[in-house]
Symmetry: C2
Subunit: 219 residues, 2 copies
C-alpha cells in the first residue's frame, strides 16, 4: 500500500512521524534546507534514509509540514498569551505578551518556528505558496492587535501600521541570527523591544504632528 493511503493511521505510526518531523525541524533550523539530507533526518530519528518514505512522499513534503507547524505554533502561542490576559488589559500589556510569546517560540522552544524563519526563503515555490497563507493569517492577527492599539489611543494616529508591523516582526525574526540565551532571558529582551517601539529612544519633547506629511521640525 502506498504511504499516502495509510499514513499515520496507526498510533505508533503517528509517533514515529512526529519523531521525524522533530528531527527535520531541528536539522532545517541548524543547517538550512539544502544543507540537511534525508539521511541526516533519518539518523536523528533512528532509522535508515529509505524508511522516511514510508511516512512522507518527499523531502518537500516534510518541509511543508515543518513550515506550517512553525507558523501554527507561534500563532497559537501568541493567541494564548493574549487570551490569558484580562480582557481589560492595556494595549502595551498585550503587545508585551505577544512579543514574549513570539520570541519564546522563535528562540527557545520552537525548532519548528525557527526552522520556518530560517528556511522559508529557500523553499520551493509551491511550498512557499501554501505556507504564505498561514503567514498572512498570522500577520493579520498582529495587524488587528496594532489596530486595536491605535483605536484605543495608545498608538498615535499617524503611525503607518503596516510598516510598524513589519518592523516589529522583522526585528524579532532577525533575532534568530544573533540571540544567545546565555546573555539575556527572553522576557527581558521582550520588554526592551516593547520599550523601544512604544516610547522610542529619543527624549519625548515634541508633540506628534497630526497631519501626516510634514518632516521633522528643523531644530
Amino acid at each position: 500500500m502506498s504511504a499516502r493511503s495509510r499514513r499515520a493511521s496507526h498510533p505508533k505510526s503517528a509517533i514515529t512521524k512526529q519523531r521525524i518531523l522533530d528531527a527535520a525541524a531541528r536539522a532545517f533550523s541548524l543547517n538550512g534546507y539544502a544543507g540537511t539530507t534525508i539521511n541526516d533526518i533519518a539518523m536523528t530519528a533512528g532509522m535508515q534514509g529509505g524508511s522516511i518514505y514510508y511516512y512522507f512522499e518527499s523531502k518537500d513534503d516534510i518541509l511543508q509540514e515543518v513550515l506550517d507547524v512553525g507558523i501554527t505554533r507561534v500563532f497559537s502561542a501568541a493567541r494564548l498569551a493574549i487570551g490569558s490576559l484580562p480582557a481589560s488589559s492595556a494595549f502595551s500589556e498585550k503587545l508585551e505578551a505577544a512579543v514574549t510569546a513570539h520570541l519564546t517560540m522563535l528562540l527557545q522552544q520552537g525548532d519548528y518556528t525557527s526552522a520556518n524563519i530560517r528556511v522559508f526563503e529557500q523553499a520551493p515555490p509551491a511550498v512557499k505558496r501554501q505556507n504564505r497563507k498561514l503567514r498572512a493569517a498570522y500577520g493579520e492577527y498582529w495587524g488587528q492587535l496594532l489596530s486595536e492599539g491605535q483605536r484605543s489611543g495608545e498608538i498615535r494616529k499617524n503611525v503607518d501600521l503596516t510598516i510598524l508591523r513589519l518592523m516589529l516582526l522583522g526585528s524579532m525574526n532577525w533575532a534568530v541570527t544573533w540571540y544567545r540565551s546565555d546573555r539575556m532571558p527572553i522576557p527581558e529582551l521582550a520588554r526592551k523591544f516593547c520599550e523601544v517601539v512604544l516610547k522610542g529612544v529619543g527624549l519625548s519633547d515634541d508633540q506628534p504632528e497630526s497631519s501626516s506629511r510634514g518632516r521633522r521640525a528643523r531644530s
Copy 2:
C-alpha cells in the same frame, strides 16, 4: 598556469571577473547559495560552466567575494551618507542618512548586499568566519553612531544600545523579504523607520525613569 597565479592580471580578465561576480550576486540573492549552480552563474555571465574556474578556485570562493563586497558596499554607502552631512548635524539627521543608505543598498542597488543578507546563514563556516569580521566592523560603526547620539542626549541614557542596534539593523535587513519597490520609495520608508525608532509609536506622556531597572508603572 594556475588560475591563482595570474588571476585578474590583465584588464579584460578583471572585467570578466566582475561580470561573473555580478551574475553570482544576483543569482545568490534570488535563489540562495545551494539553489544556484555554477552553470547558472556562467550562463548569465555569457560563458560555459567550466570557464568559471579560470577566474575562481571554487564556488565557495565566489561566495566569499560576493559576501565581502556586500558588506563593504553598505559600509561605504553609510559612511558616505553620513560623511557628506555637515559635521554639526543632529543625530537624527545622521541616523536617517544611514538608514536610507543601508536600505538603498539592500533593496535597490545592491545585489551584493542583498545576497549577503539572504545567503550568509547558508554559507560554509570558513566563509562565514571571514565575512563576520567585516560585519563586526560595520556593526561597530553603527554602535558608534548610536553611542554618539546617546552622548549628545538625543537618545535616552537608559536605552540598551546593543539591543537598539540589533533591532534597527534587524528590521531593515528583514525588509529584504517583503519590500516591493512599487509600493513605497526608499526615502519614505527610511523616514518612517526613523520616526518609529526615535519617537516610538505611543503618545509621549510619561517621562522616562532614570533608574534602569523598574518595570512599567502599574497603570
